[in-house]
Subunit: 388 residues, 2 copies
Amino acid sequence: MRNFNYKNQTEIIFGKDTESKVGTEVKKYANKVLLHYGGGSIKFTGLYDKIVNSLKNENIEIVELGGVKPNPRVSLVREGIEICRKNNIDFILAVGGGSVIDSAKAIAAGVNYNGDVWDLFIGTDINHTCLKLATVLTIPAAGSETSSGCVITNEDGLYKRSTGHPTLRPIFSILNPELTYTLPKYQTSCGIADMIAHILERYFTNEKYVDLTDRLCEATLKTIMENALRLNNNPNDYNARAEIMLSGMVAHNDWLGIGRLGDWATHDIEHELSGIYDIAHGAGLSIIFPAWMKYVYKHDLNRFAQFANRVFDIDINLNNLEETALKGIEALENFFTKIELPTRLSHANINDDHIEEMSKKLVAHYDHVGNFVEIREKEALEIFKLAL
Amino acid sequence: MRNFNYKNQTEIIFGKDTESKVGTEVKKYANKVLLHYGGGSIKFTGLYDKIVNSLKNENIEIVELGGVKPNPRVSLVREGIEICRKNNIDFILAVGGGSVIDSAKAIAAGVNYNGDVWDLFIGTDINHTCLKLATVLTIPAAGSETSSGCVITNEDGLYKRSTGHPTLRPIFSILNPELTYTLPKYQTSCGIADMIAHILERYFTNEKYVDLTDRLCEATLKTIMENALRLNNNPNDYNARAEIMLSGMVAHNDWLGIGRLGDWATHDIEHELSGIYDIAHGAGLSIIFPAWMKYVYKHDLNRFAQFANRVFDIDINLNNLEETALKGIEALENFFTKIELPTRLSHANINDDHIEEMSKKLVAHYDHVGNFVEIREKEALEIFKLAL
């Protein structure tokens, strides 16, 4: 196990009807907020009205910025930064999924930065004060509700890059599983793939002697998969929605990653894919993760066999660990198929036109991506080919 | 799953040689500290000198209060409160195990309280500001290093009672597994029983649909037991010490308890035992937990069978769940025996002289203890008898 520091000050407010507390919670920190959200869905479901009323009941002044799109754009972030500066806002309330929260984090990081906010995504450290932010989560997926990171897309060249800072963890996050009933099946599934990927990125590590976090990862993966299949039958199953929502948070708040160095190549590779194609991040991950696994599994057959055995109850064939490892990867693909996600680029109508370009862009700013196995242009291209 | 709020602001600083950072960490919050510790062991091991030097390097003024005993006493707490008031100290550094940390928490809670600190352990809420505290942990057991609670014994009548408040979570806690090499085997084992009990108290709940936290509990229990047996063979196994230390923290920081109501009768019953007999808390738990399980298992055979199956890999006999449940309880007893802990009062040379008295005192301040099954005087007596 590695030495580590861990601190996560986000207050999690979880359960039925918790969004009605948003006004009183915000009031502890601010009298004026930037209310940040996405498209029309929160207006359609009535959540928007509920939030606005709760804020108004506490006499909180609201300045609005909607319009966040999946794979959130730096142009809207810049707009949010200007609004906060002009209106002296120092608290952002993000109502939505990971894209909205990440957009809010980028605004929070950018307001007190003198240069262009994109600098913070291509190497400039955050050494200044970020605005406070809080969230009402509507899509369990990105884990951004308690994480310190965010991912933004620059339309100029379609680069998708991440940054992070401890102070970008939300002050509080409200998680009501009922708010996820209205999610379309595809979006639910994409979220599930995202949280699974967050765990797998941590699980595939070269760190030895990480028993507890291995088992916590496996426990969370099993829970997610069991409950995802329950949602296949009944999308309004509160208990299954609650397990998925809680698991999505646990998958990325780093409880499962302490003391180990994760991989993260798959996320980086997927960011190239969704940067160019605007495919949902989760669907990109359900394609890229199995391909990455097929490319790297020989690097640590034991770990892949343990994954197959503990997550999918596949017997370990000690005379042929490779067989066990491959069965585990196949089981993961089968699971993604069961929740109707693509596992090949062709399933998403993507051909090989841009795979060289994406492989090149992947390492435009870095020597390599990935820690479990170092991935450069050549290796990325092989992974894309395995995904075709 | 229940609605819940969760926030834990303690910074965990984990790994080799991390105690050398204590001075720079304290300096972020204070220029003067109450250094609180137990007997001579930290002086014998050299830890005391390391801590004092690290603090002095940062010009931090030190006022000392040593002498905390296992089952820490309210009299020393009162002494600590006076010292803090007299010296205008608002930061406590606890170096030791759970007893030292709990004593420090009680001091932190008492300094700004106008009445006697014991009030806070028998029903008076903490509505005032507590002092800040931080810890350097030397015994993985109580989980007090990131928890919000503490347990103190009142010599006047030998009552052992607990209190808690979110602001009693330490600001930071330093956990270096190397510091636990010198723990005697018995103390290591007692700590292991304590952390197992913390998980079991949460595991045995009447809450339905708690899949994730069930699995996280099971994952942590398996990790603890595997690594405890490794320490049987080699007490200087860093990796096993690290897994145990991390698990002890996870067992009680409530990652495993969110969304469920735990039981806690066994802790309360054990507090009567160690209040009177001054037996180590962990040894009391390894006696009382199996007895409690034998008394209550019929209340939820499914849960006990799941425990047997998932923690001890015992096949579920669907035609006889009781058999499976009892095998699980037996396996837990066998584990305690393997790490050389008592599982009967007689193993600790305790007879039935005081079991009526302890059963009566247990509910002196409350209608009952326990949530999974309500335990009153009569039931407590039966549990003590099963433990003889």
